[in-house]
Every structure is written in structure tokens, then in C-alpha cells.
């Protein structure tokens, strides 16, 4: 299966508005896809400065921007991406 890259924005706005807890995401990734998922913290992605993306915190999974991201929201998207019910 193709690799999935998850970029968590650690810019100050994202961090203050809920991003701090998304940094625990790794603990919630199911074992069966752990090998293909790469998680990285990123300096401010500047998405907060462009209103079309919505509200922080932002997480980018491959190319897809997830707004007002939470751990369950990211896991949901991973389900869709892998076609599995994780």
C-alpha cells in the first residue's frame, strides 16, 4: 500500500486552538497501518492566513487539508483512504 504522510501544523494558532493534543496522534494509529503512516510536525503551514481553508488546527494528510482537525477526524479520513474499517 502507498505511504501516507500526515503533517501536523505546529504553528502557534493551530497549537493553541487544539493542535497540542493532535501531537499525541501516533498513540492512536492502529497497528495494522502503522508501517505505512508517517507523522511529522510542521512549522506553520500558513493555512490560517488563507480564509478558504477554514479554521485551525490544520492537518494535511497526503494532499488533503483537514480543518478544525481532531484525532477522531483524522482517523476517519484514514479509514476512507485505506478503505479499511480501522
Amino acid at each position: 500500500m502507498k505511504k501516507i504522510t500526515i503533517k501536523i501544523c505546529t504553528g502557534t494558532a493551530c497549537y493553541v486552538l487544539g493542535g497540542a493534543n493532535i501531537l499525541m496522534l501516533e498513540d492512536y494509529i492502529p497497528g495494522e497501518i502503522k508501517d505505512i503512516v508517517g507523522i511529522e510536525g510542521s512549522a506553520c503551514l500558513e493555512l490560517c492566513k488563507q480564509s478558504q481553508y477554514g479554521k485551525p488546527p490544520f492537518v494535511v494528510v497526503n494532499e488533503k487539508v483537514i480543518t478544525e482537525a481532531t484525532v477522531p477526524k483524522i482517523l476517519d479520513y484514514l479509514n476512507k483512504l485505506t478503505g479499511k474499517d480501522l
Binding site: 502557534t12 493553541v16 501531537l23 512549522a43
Partner: protein, 473 residues
């Protein structure tokens, strides 16, 4: 409950108000916030309707402006008027917390509820054993009349089907000292003769109905003036942003503070004095000594376990010593303590050298409002760094570690840790006062995990604790 919608809403509002004040638009725009958040025909309300949501936004804003909701005497007074009053205010006043009665859902009136597991049995031990005759049968199932129930719990114990459950009132459940209770309307009220300002209720209420009266408006007003404003940062700050300590210091300066001073320097002094005091007390035959650095704990002793008072260290808190140092260096400056703590607001009001207190959450809001990217700030050089010892304080067990290291060789040091105040641990402290203390040194932290898990933090306490420990290796 760390991260939840109530927390995020509060932060969102803190950012909005700070931004308006920095842009000199607070008074002209503040009354629009609630409508912008919940415009006509929007369905973004999680309450009954947008009008209730707007009303609660108004009250949250009042708390952020530093007012007690309980003091409202004119429901038609607009927020712009409150903002004006906040900007004219000279100093902050008691109380520290406020209950938004509109947001309080006046949770369960009785703590015991019969679920539909009830079989409506023949024996009916719940009814037979209820001392207040509060249970009757409806449609083949038992029902508890909340007006008669006295929450004794006998029905739950008596039911063989486990059909009766205990439903807590979260704020009351979290309060270690029974300071928050319902009034005759079922709304929560804080009794300040009992409150220890630990802040647990503020984060446990699922409706976000209990808020701190923020001082962020007062601090921004000072930052905008030509006065020197000095930030005294609690040592837990190192774990609060995804960046090195040096960058956080630089970000605080960029926000307009003239200098950033580590409260850990005060903790260094506390550690030395407390160690000397410990040696002396034990030499004079005292059974044990407890720490005194946690203001919620010392308040709890004063109000609820006075018999323990003689065992509490007379050494002052880190804030006390650092405030003295800052005041000597900057005579006319404004001193702002930045930390994770609600009880520090009380301590600061009583300390003549301290002016204001911000939480880390409020500091984060300030950064966002000013567009400061902490990770991209320069590495500031820390001119007057604290020692390792003082920087250890914010993680549970850290004060013990600091005292142990200062003592040097182990001269019968036998530490005990009370990690978090709860109804249970307050009882345990009472037994210590009666002679049941299992050691000779007791560290007490109101927040489980230490200051890094305080009510005003931004980061996950586990991540923050690792960062504090890495800095004090």
C-alpha cells in the same frame, strides 16, 4: 478533561478580544462578536438556539473582560460598556472565579437514577430500604423523586440487578473541599469561604459554566502603554509551546514585555530555605514538614485542615521571592506572573509586588492575536538563568527531588507525595495531622502530575513533563 469544545471556545474568544484590543477596536466591535459567531439562520449552535448561544457568548466575554457574572445588575448593559469599565480599572479584585448561570445546565438534581434495567421486581429492596420514601413504581419500573432523594445511595447498594446508577455533578465531584453546591434553583454557586482556587471545577464542567475572571485586558492595556511590563514565567512554561525555551522567551518579548524572568529563580531560593527549615524542624523533634509552594494546598490547609498548619513549611513560595527580586530591579514596572495556575491569581492579589496573572492559555491567545509564531522566533539568550533545582518544581515529585539534592547525603530524608488534591487526599492529610504521616517530608501538589497539569495549561501534561525533565537532567 483537557481538550474539549468549552476549552476551545474560551481560547477562541480570548484571541478575538485580544486582537480587537490590539487593533483599538474593542469597544466599537465587541458587541458584534456573538452575532458574528451565531448569525441569523445559522445552525452552528449546540445549545437550544442561536439566541441562547449568543447570550452565553456575552457572559463568557464578560468573564474574559474580568467581571463576575454574579454582579450583573442591568441585563441590557452592552459589552462595550463593560469593555470601557475594564479599560478604566486600576486593579483586579476578588473573587477569582465566576459561574455563568445561563450556561450551567443545573445537572441532575439527585445523584441516583434508576435505569431501564429495572425489572420492577417483587422484592423491591430499593423501595423498602429508601429512608426518605423517595422511590415509587411507574410503568413497572422504579423511579426516584429527586425532591425527596437525599443521595444516600442505599437503593444502589440494595438493587440486585445493578439497575440504579450514580450520576455525578462534575463540578461538585471535582471540588476537593465541597465549595461548589446548588442553590435553590439548582444552579451552582461557589462558597468562597471554602474555595481553595484549585480551578478543578473550571475544567470539569461539561458546559464550561465556570470561568476564571481573566486579566488579559488589563495586561494588554499595560503592554500598549509606555510602562515597562515584566513577565515572570513559571517553570512549567518550557513545555507549553512546540519550541525551545529560548524561543518562547523571545516570543514573550516580541509580545511587548520588557524582560522575561524565570520564577524558577524564586524556586531556587525556596529550595535552599526549605531544606534548611526541614533540617531544623526535624532536629527539634518535629514529626514531619510539608511543602508550601502550592497555593491551592496552603489555602486548603487554612480553610479545611487547620490542625496541619503547624507542619506546613514557613518558607515562602517561589512567586514571593522572585517578586521581591523583580521589584528591586524594576521599581515602577508592572509585574505579570505567567503560569498554569488559578490559585496564583489569589496569591498575586495578596502580594503587594505582583500586579497581574496570566495563564499559559492566555499567553498563547496573546501570541495568536499578535501573529507571533513561536517556532520562528530567535533564540533569546537567557541572561540570568535559574538553576536546575528551581526548574524541577512543576512536575510532581520535583520539589522532593530539589530538597533531596540540596540536602546532599541522605540524612534520614523520608519523602511522601500527595499527587493531586481530592476529597480523599484531603482526608489523608487530616490523618497526617493526627500522627499517621508515613514519612517526614510531604510534597503536596493540588494538580495531579504537578503544575504542568494545571488548569491554565496548553500542552498535554505528559509531553510538558518530559520537556521539563529534559531541561533539568
Amino acid at each position: 478533561m483537557y481538550e474539549n469544545n468549552a476549552t476551545l471556545r474560551r481560547r477562541d474568544l480570548l484571541i478575538k478580544l485580544s486582537r480587537l484590543l490590539f487593533e483599538d477596536k474593542l469597544i466599537s466591535h465587541i458587541d458584534r462578536i456573538a452575532v458574528q459567531m451565531f448569525p441569523k439562520r445559522s445552525d452552528s449552535s449546540t445549545r437550544c438556539c442561536i439566541y441562547k448561544s449568543r447570550a452565553i457568548i456575552k457572559y463568557r466575554t464578560m468573564a474574559i473582560l474580568g467581571f463576575s457574572i454574579e454582579d450583573e445588575y442591568d441585563e441590557l448593559m452592552p459589552l462595550s460598556k463593560y469593555a470601557q469599565m475594564a479599560l478604566e480599572r486600576e486593579k483586579v479584585e476578588f473573587p477569582i472565579l465566576t459561574v455563568i448561570d445561563e450556561a450551567c445546565s443545573s445537572c441532575v438534581k439527585a445523584n441516583y437514577v434508576v435505569t431501564n434495567v429495572c425489572r420492577g421486581c417483587f422484592a423491591r429492596p430499593c423501595m423498602m430500604n429508601c429512608p426518605k420514601k423517595a422511590i415509587s413504581m411507574h410503568d413497572g419500573q422504579a423511579k426516584i423523586d429527586p425532591a425527596k432523594c437525599v443521595n444516600c445511595g442505599l437503593c444502589m447498594k440494595a438493587c440486585p440487578y445493578h439497575a440504579v446508577i450514580y450520576v455525578p455533578v462534575p463540578c461538585e465531584e471535582s471540588c476537593p473541599v465541597g465549595a461548589i453546591t446548588k442553590d435553590e434553583l439548582g444552579l451552582e454557586k461557589i462558597d468562597y469561604s471554602k474555595c481553595i482556587y484549585c480551578g478543578k471545577c473550571t475544567r470539569e464542567c461539561p458546559f464550561g459554566a465556570i470561568m476564571e475572571k481573566s486579566q488579559i485586558i488589563d495586561v494588554i492595556k499595560q503592554l500598549k502603554s509606555n510602562k515597562k511590563v515584566i513577565a515572570i514565567v513559571a517553570p512549567a512554561v518550557v513545555g507549553q509551546f512546540p519550541a525551545e525555551f529560548e524561543k518562547i522567551v523571545s516570543a514573550i518579548k516580541q509580545a511587548g514585555f520588557a524582560d522575561v524572568v524565570e520564577a524558577a529563580i524564586g524556586a531556587d531560593i525556596t529550595a535552599v530555605k526549605e531544606t534548611a527549615e526541614f533540617k531544623e524542624r526535624i532536629a527539634h523533634g518535629s514529626e514531619f514538614m510539608t511543602t508550601s509552594c502550592c497555593p491551592a494546598y496552603t489555602e486548603a490547609v487554612k480553610k479545611h485542615v487547620p490542625e496541619l498548619e503547624k507542619f506546613v513549611s514557613a518558607t515562602h513560595t517561589p512567586m514571593h521571592y522572585i517578586a521581591e527580586i523583580v521589584r528591586k530591579k524594576y521599581r515602577d514596572a508592572i509585574a505579570v506572573f505567567i503560569g498554569p495556575c488559578v490559585a496564583k491569581r489569589k496569591e498575586a492579589i495578596e502580594n503587594p509586588y505582583m500586579d497581574y496573572v496570566l495563564t499559559f492559555e492566555e499567553l498563547g491567545a496573546l501570541f495568536v492575536a499578535k501573529g507571533i509564531e513561536v517556532g520562528q522566533c530567535d533564540q533569546a539568550s537567557i541572561e540570568n538563568p535559574a538553576q536546575r533545582i528551581g526548574r524541577m518544581f512543576p512536575v510532581s515529585g520535583g520539589v522532593t527531588c530539589a530538597i533531596k539534592e540540596t540536602l546532599g547525603t541522605d540524612n534520614g530524608f523520608n519523602p511522601v507525595l500527595i499527587d493531586g488534591l481530592s476529597k480523599q487526599s484531603v482526608k489523608t492529610l487530616k490523618t497526617y495531622a493526627k500522627g499517621a504521616c508515613p514519612g517526614n517530608f510531604v510534597e503536596v501538589m493540588s494538580c495531579e502530575g504537578g503544575c504542568v497539569a494545571g488548569p491554565g495549561v496548553l500542552s498535554n501534561p505528559k509531553i510538558a513533563a518530559v520537556k521539563v525533565k529534559n531541561l533539568t537532567k
